[in-house]
């Protein structure tokens, strides 16, 4: 690499990277642990010890060589990163191409005052496009300022720079955090725990549905303990309550670790989000790259007026998701103020909501009807064939459960159908879907990439079509569909959208 004026002096990662980087590479060698564990369990402790020493030595040496061979230079127009142990990579990232600089600090890095810097370029190459694994925090913020001021100079005149003492757009206090954690309680986790105690309870020694478990937890003599031990039903209820408590605690802990100190501020060109208990992240969400907004809620949260706000964006959020979480739990007024900060109008004015065809329910009913027939056939067989010795009511239980599942699924779809609607609100399309997972998609028409009208073999007979919208960024597209609208309505809607699309 030639030394020229435009490129600054070479810099290395902070020497303490040897510590933080080692942690990361320790996490990355799962295969090594498996081998060592195997050796240990097969009784070859000496070999296992040699394996551990060899692995650690290898990691230390490779981390050190990586650090020795990693150099970056910050020039006037670009940043250059030279890396690689055997095959060298010389990467040059022009400042004009950098969308933003993300800063993240793990627990160890926070103690040491280091930060990981990631240059967001919007390319599809993935996460390792431009990462400086460990540099001092001040240097990281300096770099971010440099990139920002450069971008501002090239795009627009500098507006009044954001003061840190301005009130946040949105922030979570501890009470709100705990509440968000409570709503984070997942039925899936509860069901998983239940299944685990039923199948593995004996091995783990943890099965709250047995007398033995409560015998060891509660000292006998206590009236509650006596009551629990005496009644099977009470034991079962207490077991379920205990599992729910564990589920609740898990939800709260997960939320606190992720969203502690959640704070959203105005920043040049976007919103700045800071959050995290152990790993603290500081991300700027560029408004220009926002493609759509997603307001999520559930039946219970909706009842209390709580919503979650996500932004579908071309930029990647931490963890590689195409959604930026703007607010984990917010009221309507807070949602409105965040959305208006993005530059979109909210709430919708006099938008006229149009529902979808009941065919949405019928498709599911038709698709599930074979299952219903199977359930009935099974029930009939169970009635006709006499029970063998030792068989209880099980033969009727399976068809009954199947029947209930089918009816439940169709009922859920019916509830979802009642909520599913769309509206054309000026320059935006609003789509509301789901009953259990309630989503409201806010899609600006100038972000629309393509429009499909799909008709399947069955829906064609009924003159029903599904409208599918292509939107950039994000992942999964369940909310970008308007299901089951009459063919003519679908065509009319598309024409309306195309007229308004610039």
């Amino acid at each position: 690499m030639r030394e020229d004026q435009a490129v600054g002096a070479p810099e290395r990662l902070h020497p303490l990277f040897l510590l933080t980087g080692l942690g990361a590479s320790l996490r990355g060698t799962a295969g090594g642990y498996a081998v060592i564990a195997y050796l240990l369990f097969s009784g070859r402790a000496a070999t296992a010890l040699i394996g551990v020493i060899a692995l650690v030595a290898l990691l230390v040496v490779s981390t050190f060589i990586y650090w020795r061979r990693f150099e970056f230079r910050v020039g006037a127009d670009e940043i250059r990163i030279d890396s690689g142990i055997f095959s060298r990579t010389h990467r040059s990232i022009p400042f004009d191409r950098i969308q933003d600089v993300d800063i993240a600090q793990g627990p160890l890095a926070r103690i040491l005052g280091l930060a990981q810097v990631k240059f967001e370029t919007g390319g599809s190459a993935g996460a390792d496009e431009g990462v400086l694994a460990a540099i001092p925090l001040e240097r990281a913020e300096q770099l971010r300022l440099q990139v920002r001021s450069r971008r501002l100079a090239s795009t627009e005149t500098e507006t009044s720079s954001s003061k840190s003492d301005r009130p946040p757009v949105y922030a979570m206090d501890l009470k709100r955090l705990a509440l968000a954690g409570t709503f984070n309680f997942s039925l899936a986790l509860f069901a998983g725990l239940f299944g685990l105690t039923q199948t593995m309870g004996d091995v783990l020694g943890f099965d709250p549905f047995t007398r033995r478990f409560w015998l060891s937890v509660l000292s006998a003599g206590d009236p509650i303990a006596d009551f629990l031990l005496a009644h099977r039903v009470a034991t079962a209820i207490a077991g379920a309550l205990l599992l729910m408590l564990i589920g609740l605690a898990t939800g709260i802990v997960r939320t606190v670790i992720r969203d502690f100190g959640f704070r959203l501020d105005r920043a040049e060109g976007g919103l700045r989000r800071r959050r995290g208990l152990l790993t603290r992240t500081d991300v700027t969400l560029p408004v220009k790259r926002a493609q759509a907004a997603l307001i999520l809620t559930g039946p219970v949260r909706d009842g209390f007026g709580w919503r979650e706000l996500k932004l579908q964006s071309l930029a990647r959020d931490e963890g590689g998701s195409g959604y930026h979480l703007l607010a984990p739990l917010a009221g309507d007024a807070e949602i409105a103020s965040i959305i208006s900060e993005i530059g979109w109008r909210w709430p919708p004015g006099s938008a006229r909501w149009a529902g979808v065809s009941p065919f949405y329910v019928w498709t599911l009913a038709i698709a599930l009807s074979p299952l219903l027939l199977i359930a009935m056939a099974q029930a009939a067989v169970a009635r006709l064939v006499p029970l063998g010795p030792g068989e209880g009511s099980a033969p009727l239980l399976v068809p009954a459960l199947l029947f209930l599942a089918v009816v439940g699924a169709i009922t859920a779809r019916w509830l979802a159908w009642r909520r599913t609607a769309y509206a054309l609100d000026g320059e935006r399309l609003l789509i509301r879907t789901g009953w259990w997972r309630r989503r409201l998609l806010l899609l600006p028409l100038d972000r629309l990439q393509s429009i499909d009208i799909k008709e399947s073999l069955v829906s064609r007979w009924f003159g029903i079509a599904t409208v599918v919208f292509g939107v950039a960024g994000g992942s999964g597209y369940s909310a970008r569909i308007i299901p089951a609208v009459p063919r003519e309505t679908a065509r009319k809607l598309r024409d309306d959208l195309l007229i308004k699309t610039p």
Binding site: Q99, T155, P286, K288, R289, L314, G322, D446, L448, Q449, S450, I451, D452, I453, K454, E455, S456, L457, R460, V468, F469, G470, V471, A472, G473, G474, S475, Y477, R480, R491, R494, D495, L498, I499, T501, P502
Partner: protein, 162 residues
């Protein structure tokens, strides 16, 4: 559609040679399937009553499919290019009607496979930024027509996000 621009161009069919491309492509698939079925027939079904059935039944199904499907797929495939958007109607069993506004196009390909070259057709591939349906293909065009459409759309290509 009429209220969009007043005089909308009509929906156009693609080259009839596309039917041959489809036949060729399906024939290759069926031959592979037939070979697999014949091998399975000899190895697995040799001692059963069904011995020989797949080897005979499969070519019959293939023949029926080859004589009906390409014609239907071809007659369903229609496209329309206006000043603002490209519309592609396709699908025999599952009807799909796609519209891509020309300003949304990110980049364009004209591809020609071996069969395309044999029968003198080309496929236009339109890429948008969308996660869903980001690639819209229009097969069965003559190479000149594909290049012509590409040049028309190219005029509109621009990126509108930073």
């Amino acid at each position: 559609m009429d209220d969009l621009t007043g005089d909308t161009p009509p929906l156009l069919a693609v080259e009839p040679a596309y039917k041959n491309v489809l036949r060729g492509r399906q024939a290759v698939t069926w031959v592979v399937l037939w070979v697999a079925a014949a091998v399975a027939d000899q190895l697995l079904l040799a001692d059963t009553d069904f011995h020989g059935l797949p080897s005979i039944a499969l070519p019959i199904i293939a023949l029926i499919s080859l004589t009906t499907a390409p014609q239907r797929i071809y007659s369903r495939l229609r496209y329309r290019l206006t000043e603002r958007f490209l519309q592609v109607l396709r699908g025999w069993l599952l009807h799909t009607d796609t519209i891509v506004p020309l300003v949304r196009v990110q980049h364009l390909d004209v591809t020609r496979g071996p069969l395309d070259k044999l029968f003198g057709t080309a496929t236009l591939v339109v890429h948008t930024a969308g996660t869903h349906n980001s690639i819209v293909t229009l097969p069965g065009l003559s190479p000149e027509r594909a290049a012509e459409i590409r040049d028309v759309i190219r005029e509109h290509v621009r990126t509108d996000f930073a």
